[in-house]
Structures are given as C-alpha cells and as structure tokens.
C-alpha cells in the first residue's frame, strides 16, 4: 500500500478521534494560553506593555531587550511546551487496547505510522498557533501582521522540526514507565537549534527595526533542520518500532 495513503488514513483516524474527545486540543490550547498569560502578567502593567528598551542598554547585557523581542521568545516557549504536552499523548491513545500493535501488524511500511502521527500532531499544533499568534500580538504589541507569510513560514518550519523529533521520541518511549518525564528531557536538547532559529527569525520580524532578510535566512535554516530531522526519524522509526 502506498505509504502516503496509509499515513493519510492514520492521520484522519487520529483527527476524527481528537474531534470527538477534544482532549488534546483543549489541554494543549489551555496550557499554551496559560503560558502566554503568565508572561503577560510580567510584561503588562496598568493595561500597557512594559518597555525595557532599547533606549537604556542594561549593564553587562549584549543587547537591550524590548517587549517585542520577548514576544518572539514567549511565542516559541508556548509552542514548545504545549507541543510537548501534545506529543506526549501522540502514541498514548494507541496504548489503549494495544491498537499500536494492530497498526504494526498492518501490511504497510512502518514509516506510514510515523508520517500519519506526525501529520495529525502538526494539524493540532498549527491550530494552537493560530490562536496563540493573535494573543501574542494583543498582549505584547507584537507586529504579527508585518510579514504574515514569513511568520507563518517560520512557525510551520519550526513546528515541523520540533514535531518530527518529538513524534519519534514519543514512539520510542511508549513502553517506558517514566515517559512523561523522559520526553522533554530528550526532546529539548535535540530541538534547541529549531527553537533558537524560530525565536531569532520571529524576533527579526517583530523587532523595532525589522530585518526580513535575516528572518528568511532563519527560515531557510529551519527548513534544513526539518529535512535532517524528518529523514533521520523516517530512517530510525522502523527499527525503533520493530519490537
């Protein structure tokens, strides 16, 4: 059977299950919005965003920090943390009634399971980002409409890289007792380059002096990371799931 077709059926099944239970959508969204709100309490006073710069550089700091710079970091922190929550549950449902065994018994390449799971995770994470971006714009005065396509490109490329590694690790840890603890421990060090590129690229758009060329360069780097991570994950998924 065509791998992509099988992956589509698996992703479709996951999305139908999610649409009915809404378990992941609600928890992930709630967590992501809570995360942004916590930062908002620190950065908003008397209904206005606090401005930490750039007029007075902080002693011993490399560069002054502005609220819009922080907004880029906050956006990616919320994406990464809520994404980890979702990824941790990506294969959890397949543990119930051991349906993962049924998927592994099907006459399809194991890669189809990985691609299907990754696709359904991406849909969920993109949905959360659709809500997050306007909230970031609202609370932190971030110019989210300045280069919308570039911002969308950065978020898509960054999310693909993050979820590609996360889906693989979630599959690897499905039999581990302390998988909820182990997933972030394994995931964050590997995906640090993705998060950094995402934050720098987004900050280049949000900054007082936008640098769209730099943002494009960061996006290209994210696409490179995506290619590397997805290739490695496809290569290692079948052996990981063989027993």
């Amino acid at each position: 059977m065509n791998v992509l077709r099988a992956a589509w059926w698996i992703a479709r099944k996951d999305l139908i299950v999610e649409a009915r239970s809404r378990e992941l959508a609600y928890t992930t969204l709630f967590f992501a919005v809570s995360c942004v709100l916590v930062f908002a309490f620190a950065y908003i006073q008397d209904g206005r965003s606090l401005d930490f710069g750039p007029a007075e550089p902080v002693a011993n700091s490399v560069m002054p920090i502005s609220v819009t710079d922080a907004a880029a970091g906050i956006l990616w922190v919320a994406v990464a943390f809520s994404g980890t929550l979702a990824l941790g549950r990506a294969f959890e449902r397949e543990r119930q009634s051991e349906t993962l065994r049924a998927l592994l018994l099907a006459p399809t390449e194991r890669a189809a399971i990985y691609i299907g799971k990754l696709a359904s995770m991406l849909v969920l994470m993109f949905g959360v980002e659709l809500v997050l971006v306007p909230i970031i714009g609202l609370f932190f005065d971030a110019p989210v409409g300045r280069a919308p396509l570039l911002l969308a490109g950065l978020l898509v490329a960054g999310t693909v890289g993050f979820a590609a590694v996360g889906t693989l690790f979630a599959a690897m840890l499905i039999r581990a007792q302390s998988r909820d603890v182990l997933l972030p421990v394994l995931l964050y060090p590997i995906t640090v380059p993705v998060i950094i590129a995402g934050v720098r690229g987004t900050a280049a758009i949000f900054g007082a002096e936008p640098n769209l060329e730099a943002a494009t360069a960061w996006m290209s780097m994210l696409v490179f990371f995506d290619a590397v991570f997805v290739t490695l994950a496809l290569w290692t998924f079948a052996p990981v799931m063989s027993e």
Binding site: R93, R101, S242, E243
Partner: protein
C-alpha cells in the same frame, strides 16, 4: 475433539484482498525457535508445523509461552534463534505483504473506543487495502450481529460485543493465518456459538487457525490438534478420545512431572 479437516486446495476468501493475495501459503513451520526476554525463556527450541485447514489449540498455564508463540508467528516478535517459515519463505523475504495474510485477535482487542464499529472496520480495511470495502464491512457487521449498532462508538460496547467486532476486524482481509489469544473471553453463550461457527467456517475455507485458550469446554469440540506449553517448552498431545481437560492434565503431568 473436532474433526480433522485438511483442505487439499485451500480457498482464499470469497473476495480478494489485492496485492497481499499474492502471498499464499499452506503451512507455517517453526524450526528450533527460541525466544528469551533477558534471562527468562519464553520459548525454548520449539519445532512445530501448522497446516491449512486445521484449528490448533495452544494450552498451558499463565506465562507458559502461548502469547509469545503467537507474537513470534505474527511477526511481532523476532525469535532469539531458529526460524519461522510461511510456505517455506521467511517473514524477512516475504516483507510487509505477509502481514496482510495474517489476522490477529489479541487479548487486547485492537479497537478504537472513540470510533464507531463501522469506522473501526473501515479504518483497518483501508490499511489492509481490502477490495469492495463497503460490502465487506457490512458483511463483517452482519457476521458480528452488530448491524444495528454499527454507528455506535465502541467505547459503549460490552466486552462481548467488542470481542465479536474484534474478531471480524481480524478476519476482514481474509487472512490465511488466524492467530487468536483467548478468543472466548467475555463471550456469552450466543457469542460463543457465533465464534465457534466462524472458526469452523475459517477452517473449511483452508485457513490455518491457532488459538491460545484456557477454555477447554468450548475448545473441546472445535480444535483438531492440541499443543501444550509450559516454561517455553512444547508438547504435542496425540489425537485421542476423551475429555480435553483430562487429557491436558494427563499430558502436563506426563511431560513435566
């Protein structure tokens, strides 16, 4: 024990199942198969042959190695040593399509609780590239006597209903080799009769049926061959008359006393 039926020319299912039909086999052979989990021996140098058109009962105490044997034959677990061949070819040489000729009903039922009965069957039917899927799904629902509850979520089903649906899910793609782990669990009399009839039907169609069970009463009139396991070691019990449970106890006492 049930009649021994050997189909000379085994018949594949009534409706073809596309590419996976290309792989056909009339016997499965285990040669010196061992499987260890760390220091624990789940299967020890087991050699057995299963032929088309027979139902083989696997009996033994808990932890004897029955489920491990089914997992090894289902290609889910690699043997530590020895080989399993399907019509003379190994799982590695046959590749992914081999799994399209194997149907597994596990102790866990491999069903999605948030999907309806019909959606579960359609999902797995698509993964197995079953031809004329709609027709096959309706037939499967009818065979499980779940047509009226086809659009109900599986999470609302009793264990017996789920067991019936899980059996049809395992058989949807007309497998040549059917592996059943405790298939009678949670079934009422009517469902048990249905399952028994379905397994006989499979045997008559030339499938190889392996069934791990503790249910001697239901297996007594059904199986063609009895195999006992204990501590990963196998003993084949010769065909004979008499109560299955009594013969099992005798075999266990003789072999492992």
């Amino acid at each position: 024990m049930g009649r021994s039926h050997r189909a000379a020319t085994p018949r594949v299912g009534l409706i073809s199942v596309s590419a996976s039909s290309l792989i056909d086999f009339t016997q499965v052979e285990l040669a010196e198969v061992s499987r260890h989990y760390g220091r624990r021996r789940a299967l020890a140098r087991t050699s057995l042959t299963f032929r088309a058109g027979e139902i083989v009962g696997l009996f033994g105490p808990n932890g004897a190695g029955k489920s491990t044997m089914l997992s090894v034959i289902a290609t889910m677990v690699r043997p530590t040593s020895g080989t399993v061949t399907y019509g003379g070819a190994t799982a590695k040489s046959l590749g992914d399509p081999l799994r399209g000729r194997i149907g597994v009903l596990g102790h866990d039922l491999f069903l999605y609780g948030d999907l309806t009965a019909r959606e579960n069957l359609e999902f797995f039917g698509r993964l197995y590239s079953v031809d004329r899927l709609g027709e096959r799904v309706e037939a499967a629902l009818a065979a499980a006597r779940l047509t009226e509850r086809a659009n109900d979520r599986v999470s609302a089903f009793s264990r017996g209903l789920r067991q019936r649906l899980a059996l049809e899910r395992a058989l949807l793609h007309s497998p040549r080799l059917v592996l059943l782990d405790e298939p009678f669990t949670g079934l009422d009399d009517e469902s048990t009769a249905l399952l028994t009839a379905r397994l006989r039907q499979l045997r008559d169609s030339g499938a190889i049926v392996l069934m791990a069970t503790h249910d001697f009463e239901n297996a007594d009139d059904l199986i063609d061959r009895m195999i006992c396991l204990r501590d990963g070691r196998v003993r084949e019990v010769p065909d004979a008359r008499g109560n299955l449970r009594v013969r099992y106890r005798q075999a266990m006492a003789e072999a492992w006393s």
